[in-house]
């Protein structure tokens, strides 16, 4: 059965019916944009089930060389900016029309590219062009992407050009070009069909409980998921939970050009607990003991690997067997959060494996 639409939700929730306000559009627009269910009470300090889930419309998917980009949109909703360990809640404004989202991934390795730089330019039916530099964001349905609430103009066709500068994140194996890429899309902005997008108001007994809603089936877009511990591409030293996130630590002496003779590559994969989305833009460090002494005390560097995906890693100079790795998350993932993730992944403690 089809999920109920947002229109149905609005009609049920609002004291003002759609038809009754036909002559009062300005008012109506303000009303509808801000009519998000309230935040669950007593949100836990961990990933939690949000107040609602929403469908989204895919405007298109384009490729350029080895990179692919998907543009999608849904109705505007609140999110949280992150700086250090502080969050700054962004509420929907009356003039916001959509929440625009861009996902970028590498088609050759199938890895999503956190830390890309994305700029969106949209031209509406009135010929007006505006630009948005979306925030890097994490949502339970989509994982790592770039998004923002955006005020469009009149309803009608929008041409959207997305400029992506691939990240300079360290890569294992081959190097990939980081020249800017342009992706062109167009979509029809139509309030009525936006309101017909699926919308589910999560019941009070479920919302706000530890957990997460399922990732949506993104069809063509790859979700930013980390490899599971039981299918990790390199030998796993151990796993842990910290700050509400899962941490998998692996070590290998065979790691392309990164680890040479008498060297070990130590990789830490930090991800969300339920949906296994990678948590980028954090700072991690580690100490490593081997052969009875500390052989490493330093940063784990964000790194993209075709098999490990986005992870934090370091080369440790020691041929001896590793006895202990202690990983610290020094700065929480600096990525904006959709509802359900804004209280999690801030307060980390060290994990020893």
């Amino acid at each position: 059965m089809r999920k109920p639409s947002r229109r149905a939700f609005l009609a049920a929730a609002g004291s003002v019916g759609l038809g009754a306000t036909a002559g009062c559009l300005g008012f109506l627009e303000t009303e509808r944009a801000t009519r998000e269910p309230p935040l669950p009470e007593n949100r836990p300090d961990t990933a939690y089930v949000p107040s609602h889930v929403e469908g989204m419309e895919m405007a298109g998917m384009q490729t350029s060389g080895r990179y692919a980009c998907a543009l999608s949109y849904t109705f505007p909703h609140r999110f949280w900016l992150v700086r250090g360990a502080e969050t700054d809640r962004v509420d929907v404004r009356g003039e916001d029309d959509v929440h625009l989202m861009v996902a970028v991934w590498d088609t050759e390795t199938g890895t999503v590219l956190p830390e890309a730089n994305v700029a969106i330019e949209h031209t509406g039916p009135d010929g007006e062009t505006s630009s948005v530099t979306p925030w890097q964001m994490l949502s339970q349905q989509m994982g790592v992407h770039h998004g923002d609430n955006v005020a469009l103009g009149p309803e009608g066709n929008y041409d959207v050009s997305v400029r992506v500068v691939p990240p300079t994140t360290r890569r294992t194996g081959e190097t990939a070009a980081t020249d800017p890429l342009e992706f062109e899309f167009s979509f029809t902005f139509d309030r009525a069909s936006l309101d017909d997008l699926p919308f589910e108001d999560i019941p009070a007994d479920r919302e706000g409980t530890a957990g997460a809603v399922d990732p949506m089936d993104m069809k063509s877009a790859t979700l930013s998921q980390a490899p599971p511990a039981d299918d990790f591409p390199i030998p796993v030293r151990g796993t842990g939970e910290t700050g509400g996130a899962n941490l998998v630590v692996g070590a290998t002496e065979e790691f392309g050009d990164l680890a040479g003779d008498s060297e070990t590559y130590v990789a830490a994969s930090l991800c969300t607990p339920h949906n296994k989305f990678v948590l980028p833009s954090a700072s991690l460090s580690a100490t490593v003991d081997a052969g009875g002494t500390q052989v490493f005390d330093g940063d784990l560097v964000p790194t993209l690997d075709p098999n490990l995906g986005y992870h934090y890693g370091a080369v440790v100079s020691s041929g001896e067997e590793i006895e202990n790795v202690t990983v610290s998350v020094d700065t929480p993932p600096q990525i904006s959060r959709h509802e359900g993730y804004e209280t999690a992944f801030f307060d980390f403690s060290d994990v020893s494996v």
């Binding site: 900016l81 992150v82 700086r83 250090g84 700054d88 962004v90 404004r93 003039e95 830390e115 730089n117 700029a119 505006s130 630009s131 948005v132 530099t133 925030w135 890097q136 923002d148 005020a151 400029r163 500068v165 300079t168 980081t178 800017p180 833009s281 954090a282 700072s283 940063d299 020094d330 700065t331 929480p332 993932p333 600096q334």
Partner: protein, 423 residues
């Protein structure tokens, strides 16, 4: 005269007039402004040899900071002729007209004429070692600016919108008199106009011009802010001195180089999503946000943004996930001060809130080095700070144009050769 019933405030109108430009804007503007603009001098020798010697001719605020002229125009000029003595004479006589017509001050008119690398290409010889003037180029992987290559650029600045407009009209050959003084020659007698840009800076002007692209409808720009982003800028101790930016030797000794970029501002996130603390952290540094060092637009800071307690950008970036715009430049200070002299102003050109980022420095390399510090690839490479996100104010800026120019000393300003004009 335009009716007031259109709801345009008198002050708002004056600025818009500079943005519109031309004879009718000038006529309407003069009616409105009704300014008594002081006239200049007959003898250019009484004026400073540096075209860029503006600071002594400008007023200062109570803390001793230079207050920039409120209205600005940048006129791009193409030169298709031969740099003959006659052409030089015409240029010199046009510029002397401005000097006779307007006092060299914010109350009268301040002007500079600069030349691009494209201009110097016509000569067989190259510019001397003492001048570093490369072609403009993108200064970050993340930008894709149009590269401005007019032959020359005229910068006009005054507290009077009518002063800027009238001087421009005179230089375009559209007036017989300027401020009551006969116009002997126009720059368009030898140049043609390729483009014009305009802008404003000073308390209240950005707020009056916030009904434009890139600014949300809530009119968030503070009433008393001198710049769109809401803070004071150009504190005395955060600027290079005019001496520091002056070329020391060679035929252009006494001149300087000018970098002019245009930057679109995207202020929706800045004002509607970031809170005040984040704005202070991103503009100055997180330590300033913690201590509440910045009140309102930051006038309380006096003559310095007081960045001493900001700390090392890489450390701040690792600990706080954000690094301040001003903080990043500490690394490129020399003798305790920046090496560029910023004379930037805001603009509504292109129907969008923006900045004409005009900076003077002894060599363009000084600007490039400073801009590199702002890119802060070491911070984004070693900390969770992004290349734009949480990286000072980079998230909100997009560079649309860049141009590099040489401002010769006053005595050398008319169609110079690479060896100076008496070659």
């Amino acid at each position: 005269m335009l009716p007031d019933s259109r709801g345009v405030s008198r002050r708002a109108f004056l600025k818009s007039a500079v943005a519109i430009g031309g004879a009718s804007a000038l006529a309407a503007c003069m009616d409105r402004e009704d300014a008594d603009v002081p006239t200049g001098v007959d003898e250019p020798a009484s004026l400073p040899e540096h075209q860029h010697a503006w600071n002594d001719a400008l007023s200062r605020d109570d803390a001793g900071n230079v207050v920039p002229p409120r209205h600005h125009a940048l006129v791009h000029l193409e030169f298709d002729g031969e740099p003959t003595d006659e052409a030089r004479g015409t240029v010199e006589s046009a510029l002397r007209t401005l000097e006779r017509a307007y006092e060299w001050s914010n109350n009268g008119l301040l002007a500079t004429l600069g030349y691009s690398p494209a201009y110097f290409e016509r000569f067989d010889s190259a510019l001397p070692e003492s001048v570093h003037l490369p072609e403009p180029q993108p200064l970050s992987d993340l930008e894709d600016p149009a590269l401005d290559t007019p032959d020359a650029i005229l910068h006009l600045a005054s507290d009077h919108a009518s002063g800027v407009l009238e001087a421009e009209e005179a230089m375009r050959g559209n007036r017989d008199t300027a401020n009551g003084v006969d116009v002997d020659a126009a720059l368009t007698d030898v140049f043609s106009v390729a483009d014009r840009r305009s802008g404003f800076v000073g308390d209240g002007l950005p707020a009056e011009h916030q009904d434009t692209g890139g600014v949300p409808d809530s009119e968030p720009v503070p009433e008393d802010a001198p710049f769109y982003m809401g803070f004071e800028s150009g504190f005395e101790k955060s600027q290079a001195t005019e001496d520091r930016v002056t070329i020391q030797s060679g035929p252009f000794a006494g001149g300087t180089t000018q970098h002019v970029s245009h930057i679109d501002l995207n202020l929706t996130q800045w004002y509607e999503q970031d809170d005040r603390e984040s704005r202070v952290a991103q503009m100055f540094c997180p330590a300033h946000a913690d201590s509440g060092a910045v009140e309102g637009t930051g006038e309380n800071l006096g003559d310095s943004p007081q960045l001493d307690d900001c700390g090392d950008p890489v450390e701040t970036g690792s600990e706080r996930g954000v690094v301040g715009h001003s903080q990043k430049f500490q690394r490129v200070r020399e003798d305790g001060r920046p090496v560029i002299l910023r004379r930037d102003f805001d603009s509504t050109d292109g129907g969008h809130a923006g900045v004409h980022f005009l900076a003077l420095q002894r060599e363009i390399a000084d600007f490039e080095r400073t801009r590199d510090a702002m890119n802060a690839t070491d911070v984004s490479g070693q900390t969770p700070v992004g290349r734009t996100q949480n990286n000072g104010i980079r998230q909100y800026l997009s560079v649309t144009h860049r141009g590099n120019y040489l401002l010769p000393p006053r005595s050398n300003r008319a169609l110079p050769t690479p060896e100076g004009s008496d070659a």
